[in-house]
Symmetry: C2
Amino acid sequence: MATGRTHRPATRSRGIPEATVARLPLYLRALTALSERSVPTVSSEELAAAAGVNSAKLRKDFSYLGSYGTRGVGYDVEYLVYQISRELGLTQDWPVVIVGIGNLGAALANYGGFSARGFRVAALIDADPAMAGKPVAGMAVQHTDDLEKIIEENGVSIGVIATPAGAAQQVSERLIAAGVTSILNFAPTVLSVPDGVDVRKVDLSIELQILAFHEQRKAGEEAAAAASEPGSAVGGAAPAAAVVPPAGRTAAEARKGGPEGDVPAVMPA
Amino acid sequence: MATGRTHRPATRSRGIPEATVARLPLYLRALTALSERSVPTVSSEELAAAAGVNSAKLRKDFSYLGSYGTRGVGYDVEYLVYQISRELGLTQDWPVVIVGIGNLGAALANYGGFSARGFRVAALIDADPAMAGKPVAGMAVQHTDDLEKIIEENGVSIGVIATPAGAAQQVSERLIAAGVTSILNFAPTVLSVPDGVDVRKVDLSIELQILAFHEQRKAGEEAAAAASEPGSAVGGAAPAAAVVPPAGRTAAEARKGGPEGDVPAVMPA
DNA sequence: CAATCTTTGTGCACGCGTTCACAAAGGCAT
DNA sequence: ATGCCTTTGTGAACGCGTGCACAAAGATTG
């Protein structure tokens, strides 16, 4: 289609919706699996099933990248792998540093998924002098003192923070000052960074808490179906109200009931 | 406001938007920190800043839970901690099992953020017989054979999968058959589960790929600002196009150019 | 007790993302 | 070459989430 497309680059190049970008790695993974099985083409329906999304959504996502795909046939697997890789910037090599080599940092260093996708762990950095020099994932841990030097010498622009929460902000500032412009943060803190720096956060306990919310809702509905006792219906198998509300309130306490009226039941008089 | 609230429970109890639920743990963390510093009250503005969100959004989020908060003053920290904990189901104890005790599984087992939030690691399970009995995080690893028994005896409803991708689907099926209804999946695969089972996925490499996309865009814009050479502008410091497009295409290849016109430059004739 | 000041709670509008549904496009069989 | 059949690409409608802006509520001060 080298014919009628001279006016769209600006619209599309920066116009790929964030939600679509977040799904591209998913498609890429599914396509890679198909590629390894030497499947030549896939329909949007098949690929959508493999990636766990709606086929219409997948087609719209691909439409932002361009018109790859042949009507009546589907998409060429290899070609699409290449296009998505290129769009995501995976046709080049991204050196990353991991800061904070505790349990999680070590797990990340050993994680095969990084190198498989064009990411190269350039260095492991830790603040503990006792860690310095120790081999983790076949690589010697380096001390925080050399952070700036490491970033600059390796041209690192992506940093992974796996430190305790208390150290994260300071580490991020040093990383950014040294030239890092993208951060993947595993520390349970909100990082404040200047404009132009991207931060993505992964918080393991948050995910569990979201699951707990839904789990509780399921249990609550079950119980509500059996008996509609407002005081003790919530919290299926495990004993509810292991925590009592704090006593630090005075006026507000008496005034406000819980949302369902089940709080008074567990509130101390 | 204890007066006119007799018709809302149904609207609210199941009406908390998913986006709000996902932010509650964030608020909870910020509030816990304030609580430890013995701060009695916070305004929506302050709390929003601490949680890294917009204050209007925070107030709207809280409004789904009920009318906690006092106009002119703010929110009572302790009271809010309790309300959010209760809403998230953290006032009860959730036993979880971790399946797959590799680097990541071990890191999760050692992760303090779980027990701090009402989650209790009930068991560590691995398929490798050599792992069985080994202590990880002060707990003996158990073999997959006993998975069902462990789930039932401990009343586990939340499972964490940290196995290789190939084993994840089968593990999930066994977990679900044994009674688990919520799964946190770290394996890079799409799990297909029956209705009523919640799955949340965390994929470390996907997060990095999203960062790489933005990183590439930054580099591309920089380069585009300097020179507007369409063939080689993309890919700042690192050499672009380390991967060449596959040769498996015939007709489609000639027909379709890249989105910016930069594909022809790296395509083999 | 009245006036003022602070901060919540929310109605409203806007924009993004999702989904439906279908016309256009291309392969394939006859 | 023609018609049929499959699948893409996308216009349009819908719904959710976000942010603004303000009225209502309560504390506080004189």
